[in-house]
Every structure is written in C-alpha cells, then in structure tokens.
C-alpha cells in the first residue's frame, strides 16, 4: 500500500495565539478516504492548510508524494497533486464565470486555452454541471457553488482530494449528489466534516482532532448514530 501523505510530529500556533496543533501525526495511503472530526476551532482547517503549505509548522515534517516538503517551491507540486476544497465556496470561486473558474487551474498548469476548455467541458459533464458552464459564479446558490468548487479542483486532476466541510450549505438533494460523486472518485481523500451521517457514508477510516493531536474515534460514537441526527 503506497503512502501518499504523511505528517510527523507537527506543531503549530498562529502568531500570538495558543498552540493549535501539538505533535500531530497523520498518514494517508492510496485509495483511503480518511475523515477527520473535531469541534469548532480544533484545528481541522489549519491541518489541511499545513498539508498544502499555506501555513508552515513550527516543528515537524510534511512528507508528500515521496518527498519531504519544506519550502514554498516544494509545495507547488503538492498543491497541484492535492486538491483542496475550501470551507467557504465564496473564497474559492473568484473568477467571473463557472467556465473561467474551472479553467483557472488547468491554465496555470500550462495547458493551452483549448486543452483547458476541453477539460472544463469534460469535468462539468462528469459532475452533471454542464448547464452551469456560462453561469455567473456570484449568482449561484450555496449548494451550486460548492459543486462548482469541487469541479474546479477535479479539473486539476489531483491524486488526493482535501475537503473542508463540503456539506456546509448543501441541502439534502445536493448532499446525496455529492456523496455519490465522492464515492465514484478513485482519489484518496481527507474529509473534514461535522456531519456524522455524511462521514459514515464516505469514510474508510475516521479520526478525531482533539487537543492538537489525531486520535482514533472513541468507540462509543461509532455505535451511537442517532436516527434523528441533525442534518447540519
């Protein structure tokens, strides 16, 4: 089983803040769909940002795709191969139209305009979003925005998907749709989510981020899934 990403003894604190991560370890292998839970402010988003080098740990090693990554340059490849879907779709859909937004990644990877457009068509068709091609991004609903951000990341053909609260702002229908899409993807993924049911549907392994470290999910939770678990 090949190891895609591993974090070793990661420590991190925001400037002037309390430690967020202290001695965190994590390994993601090919084909795995790892879910990470934890309460608000536990550091889940921070963890994903460290993975793609948007934040640098004060201590510890980030190993990704077979090499240790320490400097900004090292992370260019990581960002291409590990597609991060942000918590707030408005932060990620910065281009005026859906097609432009989805093409942004491929164009940055050096694809020609034509190649990029071919990828856009293909990805949108695959996610059943072809009708949105020329829509204005800021006029999409929350759920539609979320699906387009996923398309934009998939257009870069990443080996790993990093999803930060992908079910935020999704209604039941779109959540079912997203679940189907994610289950159909071959990529390994790390999924941060508060949503119990969703996590259980997707993940092959679940960890909790508690006090700056990842721990196996306490067993009482695995059993006790409530029939009335709220959707949010």
């Amino acid at each position: 089983m090949s190891e895609l990403i591993s974090l070793q003894d990661i420590h991190f604190a925001y400037p002037g803040g309390a430690p967020v991560l202290c001695g965190l370890d994590l390994t993601l292998s090919a084909g795995e769909r790892l879910s990470i839970g934890g309460h608000n402010g536990a550091g889940k988003s921070t963890l994903l940002h460290i993975l793609v080098g948007l934040l640098r740990p004060s201590r510890g090693r980030v190993v990704a795709f077979g090499a240790e990554r320490a400097e900004e340059k090292d992370f260019y490849e990581v960002r291409r191969r590990a597609g991060l879907v942000f918590q707030d779709p408005d932060d990620q859909l910065f281009c005026p139209t859906v097609a432009e937004d989805v093409a942004f990644g491929p164009l940055n990877l050096g694809k020609s305009r034509q190649e990029a457009m071919a990828i856009v068509e293909e990805v949108l068709a695959r996610l059943d979003l072809a009708a949105y091609r020329d829509r204005i991004t800021h006029k999409l609903s929350g759920g539609e925005k979320r699906l387009v951000t996923l398309a934009a990341v998939l257009a870069m053909e990443p080996d790993v998907l990093l999803l930060d609260e992908p079910t935020n702002a999704l209604d039941i229908d779109n959540k079912v749709r997203l679940t189907e899409i994610l289950l159909s993807l071959p990529q390994a993924m790390i999924l941060v989510s508060h949503d119990h049911g969703f996590r259980n549907d997707i993940a092959t392994r679940t960890l909790m981020l508690v006090e700056g470290r990842l721990t196996e999910r306490p067993p009482r939770c695995v059993a006790g899934r409530s029939p009335a678990a709220p959707a949010a």
Binding site: L93, G105, I136
Partner: protein, 262 residues
C-alpha cells in the same frame, strides 16, 4: 452628494441578466462604443429640438433593452441634490432677458434654457448608457472592456469588485439587521457616527481577511501571477447593422446642428 434617499441602489445582482432582447444579440463591445459615441455627440449639441430627439432615441433604446421603465426612469432622474440645486439656480445666475423675479432676483430666459439643456443632456446620456451597457451582465462588461484593450489590471480589478460586491453587501446587511435588533436607529449623533465607523472598519477588516483566503485558494490552484480571462465575443451581421444605424443617426444629428442657425 446628498441625493434623495429614495434613490434605490441595489446590489449588482439584479442587473441586466439574460433577458432576451433585440439588443442582447448585439456585441457588447459595439454597445459600449455606441454609448460613448452617443454621449460625445449629445454633449456637443446645443439645439433644444435635437436634444429632445436625442432623449427620444435614448427612451427608444431603453424600450429595446426591455429595462423596466419606471425604475429605470427613476434612476435616470436621480441626481445629487447639489446638481439639482445647481441647475435650479442657473436661471438666476445667467445674465439675460428677465422672465420674473423672486425676492429681487431675476430669472432669465437664457438661464432657463441652459438649465434645460443640461437636464436634457444628462438624462439622455445616462439613459442611453443604462440601456446599452447597463442591460448587460457586469461580467460581460468586463470581458468586453478587456477585448477593447482596457488595461488588464483594471479589468481584473473590475471583475473582483463585481464578484465580491454581493458577498460583502450580504455581510453588511446582516450586521445592520443585528444592530437594528439591538435597538439601533441611525440619527444625527455621535453614537451613530461611531457605530457606523466601527461597522465600516469591521467590513474592511473582514474584506482584507477574505482576500487573504482568496489568494490562498488561488495559490492552491497553481496561481503564478497570471489571471486568465475567457470569452467568446465575435462581430456578426447584427453588429454591422446596429453600428451603421447608430452612426447614421448621430451623423444626422451633427449635420442638423451645423445647418441650423443656432
């Protein structure tokens, strides 16, 4: 600046959109150039009748663009109070033949004409602008400006602004609602000014933090300092017909002006 409160200025969300109209088929670049040309010609006219025809043409454009008539006309007529004040004072400040006097100040025909001229020009131009350009998506405006060789940075700035106006306006409205729920009522007092200042400051802080997250998202998708734009604008026969028609109209206005003795 103290214009009428009723001036409803909403988000960019409810602009233009994809109404199917005759104008919709005309290339956005032609529409922008047409609006500019129209404005330049109208500003250069002096004959009242010709200006009247110009305003008529602008009204026709509004109907062709299928802009909602009443709100559009209301927007057209909305001006800064100081401009209205300025126009209203003209009859009394331009020397000439008196019509009547108010408190010893004489109103003159010449002043009245000049006031009327400004009002006609301002309304005709702004109405044509709203009909020709305001009826397209703000995003399309950006694409068209880019093709018209507007500086790249300016187009990108416009695109980002258009993208985030609604998001920030939503943030602002929710904060305003929360203030209202805590009994806030804007008045002419220090407490109001301080609170609104905090509100503006907080909006700026959040805006800059959002822009940091946006930049992070761009980096994650391989951003290297280049912002690509995609569009598919192309001239077609409809554009040619539109261009010829408009040029002929504007040329005849200028011809009429040079021929007429005024």
């Amino acid at each position: 600046m103290g214009h009428f409160v009723s001036a409803e200025r909403r988000a960019l969300r409810d602009t233009g959109a994809a109404r199917r109209t005759l104008l919709q088929g005309v290339d956005p670049r032609s529409r922008i150039l047409a609006a500019v040309l129209f404005a330049v010609v109208i500003v250069a006219l002096h004959d009242m009748a010709l200006l009247g025809i110009g305003l008529g043409a602008a009204l026709l454009m509004m109907l062709t663009a299928r802009l909602p008539a009443l709100p559009t006309l209301k927007r057209m007529a909305t001006m800064d109070t100081f401009i209205i004040f300025l126009i209203a004072m003209l009859p009394f400040t331009v020397p000439g033949d008196p019509i009547f006097t108010v408190f010893g100040f004489a109103a003159t025909w010449q002043g009245l004409w000049q006031a009327l001229e400004i009002a006609l020009k301002a309304n005709a131009i702004i109405l044509a602008l709203m009909a020709l350009v305001g009826s397209m998506e703000p995003v399309t405006l950006g694409h068209a400006l880019s093709r018209l060789r507007a500086p790249e940075g300016l187009v990108h700035l416009l695109m980002f602004t258009v993208r985030y106006v609604d998001v920030l306006r939503g943030e602002y409205l929710r904060l305003r609602q929360a203030m209202k729920a805590r009994g806030f009522r804007a008045g002419t007092n220090l407490h109001t000014f301080r609170s609104l200042g905090y509100l503006v400051g907080m909006m700026l802080v959040r805006a800059i933090e959002r822009s940091e997250r946006i930049l992070a998202a761009m980096k994650c998708r391989g951003f290297t300092g280049r912002l690509p734009l995609l569009d598919e604008l192309a001239f077609c026969r409809r554009d040619a017909v539109f261009a010829i028609g408009l040029l002929a109209f504007l040329a005849s206005l200028i011809a009429a002006q040079t021929v007429s003795p005024a």
